[in-house]
Structures are given as C-alpha cells and as structure tokens.
Symmetry: D2
Subunit: 147 residues, 4 copies
Amino acid sequence: MAKLSLRHAEQSPLFTFECPMRVYYEDTDAGGVVYHAQFVKYLERARTEWLRHLGFTNSDLERKHGLVFIVSELHVEYLKPALLDDALNVTVGIESVGRVRIVFAQEVRRDHDLLVKARVVVASVAANGFKPVALPPELEKKMEAMC
Amino acid sequence: MAKLSLRHAEQSPLFTFECPMRVYYEDTDAGGVVYHAQFVKYLERARTEWLRHLGFTNSDLERKHGLVFIVSELHVEYLKPALLDDALNVTVGIESVGRVRIVFAQEVRRDHDLLVKARVVVASVAANGFKPVALPPELEKKMEAMC
Amino acid sequence: MAKLSLRHAEQSPLFTFECPMRVYYEDTDAGGVVYHAQFVKYLERARTEWLRHLGFTNSDLERKHGLVFIVSELHVEYLKPALLDDALNVTVGIESVGRVRIVFAQEVRRDHDLLVKARVVVASVAANGFKPVALPPELEKKMEAMC
Amino acid sequence: MAKLSLRHAEQSPLFTFECPMRVYYEDTDAGGVVYHAQFVKYLERARTEWLRHLGFTNSDLERKHGLVFIVSELHVEYLKPALLDDALNVTVGIESVGRVRIVFAQEVRRDHDLLVKARVVVASVAANGFKPVALPPELEKKMEAMC
C-alpha cells in the first residue's frame, strides 16, 4: 500500500474547492473536541458539495448511470483539535483521476490553522454488485481539469 | 397526537427484553455525557436484538417478506445523564401490536437508575414504496404473546 | 407527561427561524432514507443556528455563564421520508419560555412537504453538576419576543 | 508521513484481541452497506474493549492520571463491504509502544473474510491542554508484552 501517502501534501493541488462547515454538539465527544471519525464525514460532505459544484449528485449518478462512489482507502493525519462552534473550511483537491479511481487531497482548516490533512481514494463501482465501472466521460473530463 | 404518551410508563409491561450496551467516546458530546440523539440509536439496537431473540432479522424480513420497519413516532424523556464507560441496559416492552403498527415502551437504565424512558411507534411497510403492510403472522403472534 | 404534545402543531408559532440542511450519505441508512435518529440531530443544529442568530453560542454560554442546554424531552412525528441529496429546511419556533425551560416547536420540510414535526423541551443547567440554572436575562427576553 | 503504512499488515502481530460487533441500521447508508466512517468507530470500540481487558478504562485514565488518548493518524483500507445484521470481529494488535505513542494494527473480519484493515496511531496527552504525557508504567508494560 505505497499507493497512498501524505508526504507531498505540502504541495497543494492547483485548484481546490472549499466547503464551510460548522461544528455542532453532535460532532464533539467527551474530550471536548471534534470526534476523530467525524472528520471523515466532513471530508465526504466536502467531496459531495464539490461534485454538486461540477454539476453532478450522488443520487443522479446512481439513477442515471447505476454508479456509486465507494471509499477504498483513507489516510488521515490529525494535527490540531477542532472545538464546538468552530467555523471550519474543508478543501477538496485532486491528486489523480483514473477511469475508476480518484485520489483526493483534502484539508480541514480553521482560518489559517491546518487541523487535519487527508488523502482519500474513491472508486466508482456499479450500484448493483460493486464491480468497478468507468466514470461518465463528462465527469472524468471535469475532474482531470482540476488535477 | 394523543396516541403517544409516557404517562403510564410506571406500569411496566409484563414481559420485557433487556439488552446490555456500553458507552463509548463516539456516543458522548462536549458536555461530557451521552448525546441525546444517541439514545435513540440505543433504543433501536435493543429492538433489533429483541427481534433477533424472537427469531427474526431486519435483513431477512426485507429479503423474504419485502418488509421494513420504520419509526413513525418517538417520545423520549431524559431523566439522568449517562457517562463514558457506563454499562447500560436498554429494555424492550410492548404496549400494543396491530397489524402494521407496534407501540414499544422502552427504558435505559444504569443498574437501578432509570436514565431514559421512551415510547416508540414502529410501522411495518413495504421496502418498495413504503406502503403499510401486515406483519408476518408468526411474528405478530410472538409479539402479541409479549403484551 | 401531558406536558409535551404535538396536537396543536398545526398552529405555527408567530415567528419561526428557518435553517437549510443538506442530506449526505452519512445521514441515510440501508432503507435508502434518512435514518430516524439523524433528524434529532438536524433539529439541534437548527436550534443552535437560531441561538447564533440571536447573538449567542453554546460555547460562550458555557464559558461566560457556566450554562449548558440539555434536552429533557423529545416528541417527534415522522410523516414522510427524506432522501439522499434532499435540500431540507428545519424550522425553530418557540412554544413557551420559562426561567430554565424552553419548549420548541420544530418542523422539517422539503419545499412545501412537511416531513417531520417535533416538540423539544430544553432546560438550562449548570455545566458543572447539571442543576437547573436561570437563562441569562438578555437571552430570555429575546426568546420571549419570539413566542 | 512514511511513519504509517499498511504494507506489512499481512504479518499479524503475535497477540491480538478480538471484539465482536453487530451491524445495525444506524451503521449503514443508502448504498446498502456499512458507511465508511462507521468502521473508524468500530476500530475505536475495539481498542476501548481491549484497554478494559487490560484493566484500564478511558474514564479512569482521565480521572486518575489526567490522561486522554487521541488519534493522531489513521490509515484504513476498505476491501469488502459489510452488510446490515452482519456479525463482525474487530481485532486489536500492537505494532509498537513508545512512551506517548502507540501504533495499532487492526482488522475487521466477517468469519474468515477480511473486510477492512487499518493502522491507527494513538497518542497519550494531558486531558488539560493536550500536551503529550507518558503512559502509566503499568499500562505501558502490559502493552509492550503484546508487541
């Protein structure tokens, strides 16, 4: 699994999408900070909004193309905690786009503070049976333009 | 909506099923206690284990009978907080069983302390389209024996 | 527990606050719809945004006043399901404001469709020990103006 | 971030702890499978039960030693989906134990099927301020015996 590493995350991708997010009680734990698994949800919310920004939704991709995205690998580094009521920004950058596999570089920031950085590998599979399936060409093209 | 009230919850149903549950970090919030929506999940876990105890599972009911249970109404009273690492017991009692509608009386306890009491109305509907559908007779019979 | 009922929910409170919310994968379950406990989180997110709209935050109330809000009672009626990618609106209305106890009337809508209605009783307690504690007068006044 | 890799995960640690887990509706998403962030919670539940098995709890460690564990890094590979009602086993193995830093190798299995493998780096920090703090010697010794 050399395929996923965070070592180059300092070189930000050229284009990134940014999604604001607010921290609610539901996101925190008894340690007084955002629960670590919650950031994994934040990362997906941001990817979903970025997809919507490109003109696509998960529900349409399933309905029209029988396609769903699954996370196949996840690498998250937690640098600083986030707190109740924090206003966060979650970024979406693309490392690479293959026919069925997209590697995202994402970050969670509070103002200029980098809290979390992540690399997430997503695969496009058939909703029915989960076999790998090629991205719709128009979506692939839009993604490649972001690399 | 007079149909759901907690006023008789002191009279426990004759038969109750009890399900142990442990409090993890994921269940707590920055207030240091179990997050209120988390108890709603605990209640369903206990109903699911009770169903399994009767010889049924949600996945089988859907596969064999095209039936899913949905929560149509929920009334929860929070009396005392639960804390990280607490060992809880969640009970399942039945108030009434109709052809498509079951009223559960449930409680969450830590030893003899009553933390939460709830009434939950569940309906059996078609997995495809969510129209009300009668319970499988064998399941209805087993449930009625518990009232 | 006659204190909480949904029977008058048709008469909307005079002033309501509205909070937009998007449905993500994390909110749904294998039934293909938003998981019932998730709406309980949506309701709190909306109350939190309404509080922020009034000029207060949960973290400030705790830091400055040693006060936290706890949910003491919850009554939710699920009328129609919400789906992946739905754009929802969650409303916050106030039924009554006491010195330590607020009764909220809330709804979840998708366009003109009413999906969920709820009454939620919230109490203000000391962060340290959870004893009831009076609302800060400026907050109580702002809330009463909404009844 | 060469420090965390899954490449040697085939060599299982000598001693592993195993924790059974059941899949409930709350764990699944509209794709019909367990939501990817949910596995991150499963992993922590298992580490918590393993800690309890060693004679320690998170709440005691905080109360007696002012110590909390935080996840500082997470690397998860998703190999096969888990489904509603699945009975899973989550393992806890230890790769290395430092004075403040523990590297866990964990897996989620359904019978002999490997569904998820993960490496999780946990640090022990002061509950108050989150500065690194040494593990209690008795806990460190018990952990080292597992490497």
